[in-house]
């Protein structure tokens, strides 16, 4: 086991590496890294961002988040994100007060426009935080969405 000598893996956990290489082999041509289990299981947006290597993103006005101010039904909240930052490769969405805030990462490649429309569940009123990766740097913006009826549990 040569790997055990590598402190990076010891710190990061060999499991994560295994999962990463495993799925990378199965799905060639993916625009970004494989499904990040530890980030999806993180219970706070900050922990999820750390697991994704997105610590301390810069605030940016070039990220446009279109979402309702008040969502009547938390089970279906339409969110639209456009990044005007040149060289955008991915858009990640975090709903800060959901049980698992990390909602997803959307990767763009080969001429697709950094825009995504999605519908998410929101448990309660929460800021929707977006992190954009562009040129190896991270930028962030957030929008508060008020939820009158929760969309989680029941």
């Amino acid at each position: 086991m040569q790997e055990t000598r590598r402190s990076v893996i010891r710190a990061g956990g060999a499991l994560a590496l295994l999962a990463l290489t495993g799925t990378a082999l199965l799905k060639p041509g993916r625009a970004h890294a494989a499904w990040n289990k530890s980030a999806f299981e993180a219970k706070s947006a900050i922990d999820a961002m750390k697991a994704l290597g997105m610590s301390s993103p810069e605030e940016s006005r070039d990220i446009v988040i279109v979402a309702p101010d008040i969502a009547e039904n938390g089970a279906v909240v339409p969110i639209e994100v456009t990044s005007n930052i040149p060289g955008t490769t991915s858009i990640s969405v975090f709903i800060e007060k959901n049980p698992f805030p990390y909602t997803g990462t959307f990767g763009f490649a080969a001429g697709s426009v950094p825009f995504v429309h999605l519908r998410a569940k929101m448990g309660e009123t929460s800021p929707v935080r977006v992190v954009v990766a562009a040129g190896g740097k991270h930028y962030t913006s957030a929008k508060e969405v008020k939820v009158t009826i929760g969309g989680c549990g029941g």
């Binding site: 763009f108 426009v113 825009f115 029941g154």
Partner: protein, 105 residues
């Protein structure tokens, strides 16, 4: 086998807008039915290809709504081009559907 996706791709100017509707329960693992928790069951990954080249991909969590809807924009797609969308869920189920890009409206 899951129900087919509904995919629509329309050219507007030099950009094609692709809309996808997937049929999936997207269980959060937090809902209970008859006193029992309904286990997690949700789509994890999505990829979309234009004429065989990946143009859009997504890793998502159970926080995406039931019967997920996504829209994205592809530059340089022309009427007649082929869009192929694939999803995979946490139980290893997968589904692939395709559509042809339609001309501007």
């Amino acid at each position: 086998m899951a129900d087919p996706m509904k995919i629509r791709a329309n050219v507007q100017g030099d950009v094609a807008i692709v809309r996808v509707l997937m049929a999936h329960p997207m269980e959060t693992g937090q809902r209970s039915q008859g006193g029992k928790k309904v286990p997690l069951h949700f789509i994890q990954s999505i990829t979309a290809q234009l004429n065989g080249t990946t143009v859009f991909s997504a890793d998502i969590s159970q926080a995406i709504s039931r019967d997920p809807v996504f829209a994205f924009r592809v530059k340089g797609a022309k009427a007649g081009d082929k869009i192929v969308v694939t999803w995979t869920d946490n139980k290893g189920e997968t589904r692939t559907d395709e559509t042809t890009v339609r001309g501007g409206s």
